[in-house]
């Protein structure tokens, strides 16, 4: 038995190593490609760069509007995540802790929205935003983003709040604290872990999002990073400026890598739990 295990362990390592290479190799060369000149990319696309040059980053940053789109993406990500919390925390508390008629129904309504293909709603949403003067507007997009992540956030926050002991709220109520005070001073601080998980997940989602931005934003100065990169990618078919494209991809991926490095466990937990809801 033991001998067989050592043998099969070696065999099993081969596919594991191959898959690791399949994941890391393209990402690794994308980063290296960002530092290569176009001539070098053509001569030796998958080799090491001869010298590290930042000219691709400069080109992407100043000639392809990446600076403005990074700014827009930060706004959308920050505002979207904040709005989601402002909506989700009070509702999650009420759904989890307060008894009222329709509680189950409302919870089910929010949760089932996670399974509905939103693409049908995007056509009317387009015209709604137009009427509200929020089309081609990063604040409008932030609101749409925030509402789109509401079901997931409520799902995670309610299950988290269920673990907070009720006695703390009861004691505070006896001391004369208002329900608003209990929500703000007791429940919210005790839910920090859940709130952080939800916020990181939402931020990654908003930072990466592409399709809603494609529909709801039109002018270049409002582009988020995903749209700006897509724009460069379409240009690359004619300009062949792969280096610039790679540089913009690296700019898009660095914040995600940083978040992943810091919050790896939380992100993994948030995503697997978010998937299990179905």
């Amino acid at each position: 038995m033991q001998k067989a295990s050592i043998f099969s362990r070696t065999i099993v390592r081969i596919p594991l190593i191959i898959w690791s290479l399949a994941v890391l190799y393209p990402i690794f060369w994308m980063v290296l490609g960002a530092f290569k000149s176009n001539a070098e990319i053509y001569a030796n696309p998958w080799g090491l760069p001869e010298s590290f040059s930042f000219s691709n980053f400069v080109d992407a940053w100043s000639n392809y509007n990446i600076d403005a789109s990074v700014f827009n993406s930060f706004i959308v990500t920050g505002l979207g995540a904040t709005l989601t919390l402002a909506m989700a925390i009070p509702t999650s508390y009420a759904l989890e802790r307060m008894r009222f008629r329709g509680n189950r129904l409302l919870f089910t309504l929010y949760i089932s929205a996670m399974m509905i293909p939103m693409v049908l709603g995007w056509i009317p949403l387009f015209f709604l935003l137009m009427q509200l003067n929020l089309l081609d507007n990063i604040f409008g997009l932030s609101i749409v983003y925030a509402v789109s992540q509401l079901p997931f956030s409520i799902f995670v926050l309610t299950s988290f709040m269920a673990t907070i002991p009720k006695s703390l709220e009861e004691a505070a109520a006896i001391d004369g604290m208002s329900p608003y005070g209990i929500l703000w001073k007791i429940i919210t601080p005790l839910s920090t872990t859940g709130i952080i998980t939800v916020t990181i997940m939402n931020m990654i989602q908003f930072w990466n999002e592409y399709f809603m931005a494609l529909i709801f934003l039109q002018s270049e100065e409002n582009y988020t990073l995903a749209l700006a990169i897509d724009y460069i990618s379409n240009e690359t078919q004619y300009t062949n400026a792969w280096g610039t494209l790679f540089a913009s991809l690296v700019i898009a991926i660095v914040p995600v890598i940083v978040l992943y490095a810091i919050f790896q466990r939380r992100i993994v937990k948030g995503m697997t739990e978010g998937a299990i809801k179905g």
Binding site: R13, W19, S148, F211, I253, Y260
Partner: protein, 297 residues
């Protein structure tokens, strides 16, 4: 609790009403309005919406491209379910049962593509498939298979299958971790008992591991189906925009083209209704097919 009913209701309203209003306006209303639009011929200018009854639905059934978009979506569903489930089950078992020292490394690496933007994944793979510079063709040349090289994304036959690999590549990590969660909950005593009975590792996998992680497998399959039917158009839009010659159009990318490129908003909404119905029906059928008594030993 010293709290009047009025105060309680006021607090309840404070918690629920603003959120629900925004949810209703930005999620519920658009969905129902989408259903409503599907009965109109409409190019965007609000005064020109013309009620056409079921005309859009008739058009849907006579549109030659629609059946191929449905087929493309289900092709992606089937290939992704098999590709992702086989690989992630294998990796999950390997990383939990084989006592591999560097398992955390694989876990971290395999999961990373799950949090990359579809735009980044799509563009990265467009470069991998690039006919002259890409890794696939240069790899084939390297091992002497020049005849297999082709413009992967530019070929009507190969463009759609080429979209499967990036999706599997990006999806493995999440499902592997979900299955690993299931496997680590299986009590060691089952394996010890199986070993005493002389079961091989292969038999242990089929008789112990697989039945006991069935709930996780079922959730994973449903999740792949839902996310593919509701979101496959994103990678299509980034990598091929439905081309060449409509050979990669899925339902969502065709909706986008009809509504937001050709301004047939009514018809686009009809395609949206079709996506909604197909994805709900598929999930219900799969839930029925995969129902299975919970296994307890």
């Amino acid at each position: 609790m010293v709290q009047s009913k009025r105060q309680r209701n006021l607090f309840l309203a404070f918690c629920l009403v603003p959120t629900f209003l925004l949810f209703a306006v930005f999620t519920l209303y658009p969905l129902f309005n989408g259903l409503y639009y599907s009965f109109f011929k409409w190019s965007g200018a609000s005064s020109l919406a013309e009620f056409v009854g079921f005309d859009n639905y008739r058009r849907l059934f006579s549109d030659d491209i629609i059946p191929s978009t449905i087929w493309h979506d289900y092709f992606l569903v089937i290939t992704k379910v098999f590709g992702i489930m086989i690989l992630s089950t294998f990796f999950a078992v390997a990383l939990t049962q084989m006592k591999i020292k560097e398992a955390p490394f694989y876990r971290i690496v395999f999961f990373f593509p799950n949090i990359m933007s579809v735009v980044v994944i799509g563009i990265l793979w467009m470069f991998i498939y690039n006919p002259s510079l890409g890794l696939v063709n240069s790899g084939l040349e390297l091992i002497g298979l020049e005849s297999w090289t082709r413009p992967w994304l530019g070929s009507e036959d190969w463009a759609l299958p080429s979209l499967v690999l990036p999706s599997v590549w990006a999806g493995i990590g999440l499902f592997m971790l979900m299955l690993m969660g299931g496997i680590s909950n299986i009590s060691k005593s089952y394996y010890e008992a199986a070993e005493i009975d002389g079961a091989t590792e292969w038999q242990q996998f089929w008789k112990v591991t697989l039945p006991l992680i069935w709930p996780q497998i079922k959730i994973s399959i449903l999740y792949i189906i839902i996310t593919t039917l509701n979101g496959s158009f994103i990678i299509v839009q980034v990598m091929t925009k439905g081309g060449p010659n409509n050979s990669t159009h899925v339902m969502g990318s065709y909706l986008y083209e009809q509504a937001f490129v050709k301004y047939n908003f009514g018809y686009g909404a009809t395609i949206g209704v079709m996506i909604l119905i197909l994805s709900l029906v598929t999930v219900l059928i799969m839930q029925f097919l995969m129902r299975r008594e919970k296994v307890e030993y």
